[in-house]
Amino acid sequence: MPIITISRGSSSMGKAVAEKVAARLGYRLISREVLLDASSRFNVSEMKLEKAIHDAPGILERYRHSKQSYVAYIRSALMERIVDDNVVYHGLAGHLLLKGIPHVLKVRINADMERRIKIVMERDGIPAEEARLRIQEDDKQRRKWTHSLYDQDPWDSSLYDLSICIDKLSVDNAVEFICQAAETDGFQATERNRNKAADMAIACRVKAALVDDFPHVGVTCEYGNVLIYVRAKDSVAGKLTKKLNQIRETTDGIHHLETHAGVELPPDAV
């Protein structure tokens, strides 16, 4: 059975859709749990992680690479959660964090701006103009975040399998479409797809272990064979050898570990 990610702008009824889809299909619903996992495993405050996945990196952060580290932690925590499939994830950036796994049904929920404003006004008790500015600021941050970390636009239709406008269509209609799509052959968790997800989880674990010291590292994994791509100058550092030995000992599922220095990152590297 597939993994479903539901992405949306703020106040676009995405949460309601996700809850109903999970209930109907009997899937686990996850969102904030991923941040909690990452927070306890990597010893970073939940607030910092939330900020990392929500706000675009500032100028200083671009040099410190702290955001890359936090995103790598979140991605690793998310991968651990979804590796057993039958999951609906409605937290931020699921469609990007789970990129490369074939049986992920990537859904985008859009809502009309006026409807979003009404929801924020009712929820936060603020006037319409303030609600509009809040939504626009939130959308701007999402756009900047996606651009800076993935060089893509969150509104780019090619990122999703299904995009539903909750305007004329209701939440129940959207649930119907998603459940129907989830049953199609393309999203079934075959043995091959499951292996791919397991490999991706290992690659994410390795990346999370290295990213603090080597922010430009890229990792791929195929059937437990891990390839680590580092910059030429990083490969001579003793720190890397020490780290890799540590990873070999502590990370489950690794058959073989190899380092490639000064080589261009393959597109599927995490």
Binding site: S158, D161, L162, K168
Partner: protein, 271 residues
């Protein structure tokens, strides 16, 4: 009882899905086969209409901005008039960009998807996958530019559509089933008000096409047979232009009253 408007980033896919939906629903088809009729009605060359749907104005193709807008307005007027007949599947005529705020018109975008779409392009053109990707990106950028120039709407914007389906992993059979199923929803059924909105839109488009034949820079709105035309003119031309607009618009079937709003054209004023 509804209108289904289908667009895609790959023409062949648009035709294939729309054709199957029409067949499944037993609806009529509204596509580029009407171009000859439109051309005959407005006494223009059919090739020019197709060109207007595909390209933006260019000196090389001897297509001025004014001609281009006129050709597009002819297509728009004709399509909207035909859509009044209802129970239609429409594609290939850019209707997703000008059929706006009509609740019984369901707009669907079908994306070829990265893997299958690129493979198709590479096979058809005999090029590598990498070159096919560049080709498709360029094509998408070109269509986006065209849609913004022609109707001030970005055709790649997800929020313009009720449903966007990528064929990467959802197969065409499932896509057709989803579209036909969605068209049954109550929200997409014809209501007196939505029909009235479509009638107003069609009348405005008809008047717009008539006016664009002899002038540029006009905007038209219609409501229950009353038409409001907004344009620009210098103080000297204001009266004459108002009279011309009233005379031309008044001849269009269904127009009961014409109101003209003229803004000062500062460029012509200073010249």
């Amino acid at each position: 009882m509804s209108i289904i408007i289908i667009s895609s980033d790959v023409r062949e896919i648009e035709e294939m899905i729309a054709g199957k939906v029409a067949e499944e629903k037993g609806y009529g088809r509204l596509d580029r086969r009407i171009i000859n009729d439109v051309a005959a009605r407005h006494q223009v060359e059919p090739g020019r209409l197709i060109e207007a749907l595909e390209t933006t104005p260019s000196l090389f193709r001897k297509l001025s901005s004014r001609q281009w807008r006129y050709y597009l307005s002819c297509i728009e007027a004709d399509v909207l008039e035909r859509l009044l007949a209802d129970n239609l599947v429409c594609w290939g005529l850019a209707a997703h960009l000008y059929v706006t705020d009509i609740s019984h018109a369901m707009k669907i975008r079908v994306l070829a998807g990265k893997s299958s779409g690129l493979a198709k392009i590479a096979e058809e053109r005999g090029i590598s996958l990498q070159r096919a990707e560049t080709y498709r990106d360029d094509e998408m950028a070109r269509r986006k530019k065209w849609s913004l120039a022609a109707f001030n709407q970005d055709e790649t914007d997800l929020s313009r559509y009720d449903l966007v389906i990528s064929l990467d992993q959802i197969d065409p059979v499932e896509t057709v089933r989803t579209i036909t199923g969605a068209s049954e929803y109550r929200k997409f059924q014809v209501m007196t008000y939505s029909m009235k909105c479509l009638t107003d839109l069609a009348l405005a488009a008809k008047v717009h096409a008539v006016l664009l034949k002899s002038m540029a820079d006009v905007k038209v709105q219609a409501r229950d047979g009353s038409v409001v035309v907004s344009t620009r003119a210098s103080t000297r031309q204001k009266r004459k232009k108002t009279e011309t607009i009233k005379a031309l618009a008044g001849q269009v079937d269904g127009v009961g009253y014409v109101e003209v709003h003229v803004k000062k054209n500062f460029l012509k004023e200073t010249a």
